[in-house]
């Protein structure tokens, strides 16, 4: 058990015992070291199964929509980038600010289990970081990998180590910001020819099995009734319109979260086909930043999004498209 996990458990115990909160949302030990899963803890005893390690990539803010409907306050552990999601949900009135006790927690990049598997490491019992390397205690001994090869993509271009919202924090070590350019890939794609771009996306999106994992995990995809499940919306996957939905799901989804997506990267993290879905959202974010001024969804808990505001002098659509290509 690491010191950070200990401190978090202590914090949770304290809040529960003092009655400050009714429940704590955190992670629960899974079968293996690499599969902790989000869970709600309602008593100090239940905290025995609480875990926090480098595999706790999941963004817990989305769970609050449901959990916080229950009576009393809910505490939640949020990594810096997760706090933006919560803030955005508060802005959209999906979560009642008054009923949340947000605890910002330390994050030193999270591991990507798929990536680890891909380089042939399995049977992990424990993990730790050693400088630029990740060290795994596996069933068949210790294995090492370069950190940049095994952490989640989003952690290579971490957008912030700031907590957008937090009553309290548990941070034991300084969090280092990785300063990669998160738009590098988008720019690279923009620099290709239209045919190359099409080939790229066709290759990626044709793998989609429509499992809905991206939609289910996305903290911006929180609709009570998703358009794709609503026969009245005209785009639902009803029998006679399967091709429409099939073909346009990702486009419509990306548009719906534009201006609201905090770039938390959960979509790509959970995609079983490893489709870089975050590159769809980042295109919108980059366009918004460049055309309408820098904007980070979830930085504020009030105010309008770029798509619900305007400037009289905004760029014309034709020019915006050309600009995007010239980049």
């Amino acid at each position: 058990m690491n010191a950070l996990e200990n401190a978090m458990i202590e914090k949770a115990r304290d809040l529960l015992e003092k009655g400050v909160v009714k429940r704590v949302v955190g992670w629960e030990r899974g079968e293996f070291a690499y599969d902790p899963s989000p869970a709600t803890f309602e008593s100090a005893q239940s905290l025995e199964s609480f875990v926090y390690n480098d595999f706790c990539g999941a963004n817990l803010s989305k769970y609050l929509i449901k959990v916080s409907k229950n009576e009393g306050k809910t505490a939640v552990f949020l990594k810096p980038c997760d706090t933006y999601s919560l803030n955005q949900l508060i802005k959209e009135h999906r979560v009642d600010r008054e009923k949340i006790y947000a605890i910002g927690i330390e994050c030193q990049q999270k591991l990507d289990h798929f990536a680890i598997e891909k380089i042939g490491i399995d049977g992990i019992r424990e993990e730790k970081y050693d400088g630029d390397e990740a060290v795994f205690h596996c069933v068949d001994g210790e294995k090492r990998a370069k950190k940049e090869d095994v952490v989640l993509l989003r952690c290579l271009t971490c957008k912030s180590k700031k907590f957008a919202i937090a009553e309290d924090t548990v941070v034991l070590h300084e969090m280092t910001e990785s300063c990669g350019d998160r738009f590098e890939e988008v720019r690279k794609l923009s620099g290709m020819t239209a045919d190359e771009r099409f080939a790229f996306w066709q290759n990626e999106l044709s793998r989609c099995i429509r499992c809905n994992a991206c939609r289910n995990v996305c903290p911006a995809c929180t609709c009570i009734k998703c358009v794709f499940d609503n026969p009245k919306s005209g785009v639902a996957a009803k029998a006679n319109d399967v091709p429409f939905e099939e073909q346009l799901f990702h486009i419509i989804r990306a548009f719906h979260v534009s201006g609201r997506c905090t770039d938390c990267g959960e979509c790509s993290r959970v995609c079983p086909e490893r489709i870089p879905l975050h590159l769809l959202n980042r295109k919108f974010i980059l366009d918004i930043n460049e055309n309408y001024g820098e904007y980070q969804a979830g930085e504020e808990s009030e105010g309008k999004t770029p798509l619900t505001s305007y400037q009289v002098t905004d760029v014309e659509p034709g020019d915006a498209v050309r600009k995007g290509e010239d980049r």
């Binding site: 239209a194 099409f198 346009l248 486009i251 548009f255 366009d287 498209v321 050309r322």
Partner: protein
């Protein structure tokens, strides 16, 4: 002109034009009453305001076989509903840029501001847009996006 691809010469694109009731639709009417022709393959859907146009409508048109989609609205600042077309402008700038990013030809989409007095502009815009889309040929990419040829 002799070099024009003969296949494309035969190709007649299907164009969907969304026009706001107050400016562009009236502009289209004026083009009509001024007998300013534009190709018959442009068909207009009347909407109260350009801001009523959901990206879904545009995508649906493409998915159902339209070869080009054009949105027309009041000039920014002249919106009948004060601010509607400002939102249209942002939405479509982002949507079209996004489609282009996916490799779907940017020449198939367009936004134009046409006032009720600009019948000539309406006709000129439609002629130009049809020419542009004709040169591209049939729209296949939206439906092919999710299907990789092996």
């Amino acid at each position: 002109m002799q070099e024009v691809n003969t296949e494309n010469e035969k190709f007649v694109p299907n164009i969907v034009a969304f026009c706001c009731n107050w400016c562009s639709y009236a502009g289209a009417d004026l083009a009509g009453s001024s007998r300013l022709s534009y190709p018959a393959n442009v068909k207009i859907v009347r909407v109260p305001c350009s801001c009523r146009v959901n990206p879904t409508f545009v995508l649906k048109a493409f998915q159902r076989g339209a070869d080009g989609v054009i949105l027309c609205g009041c000039h920014p600042g002249d919106c009948h509903y004060v601010t509607g077309n400002y939102y249209t402008r942002r939405r479509m700038a982002l949507l079209f840029s996004f489609l282009d990013y996916l490799g779907i030809e940017k020449e198939r989409t367009r936004v134009e501001w046409v006032s009720a007095a600009e019948g000539a502009k309406f006709s000129a815009v439609m002629n130009d847009f049809v020419r542009q889309v004709t040169a591209l040929g049939e729209n296949k990419r939206i439906s092919d996006l999710r299907v990789k040829e092996e």
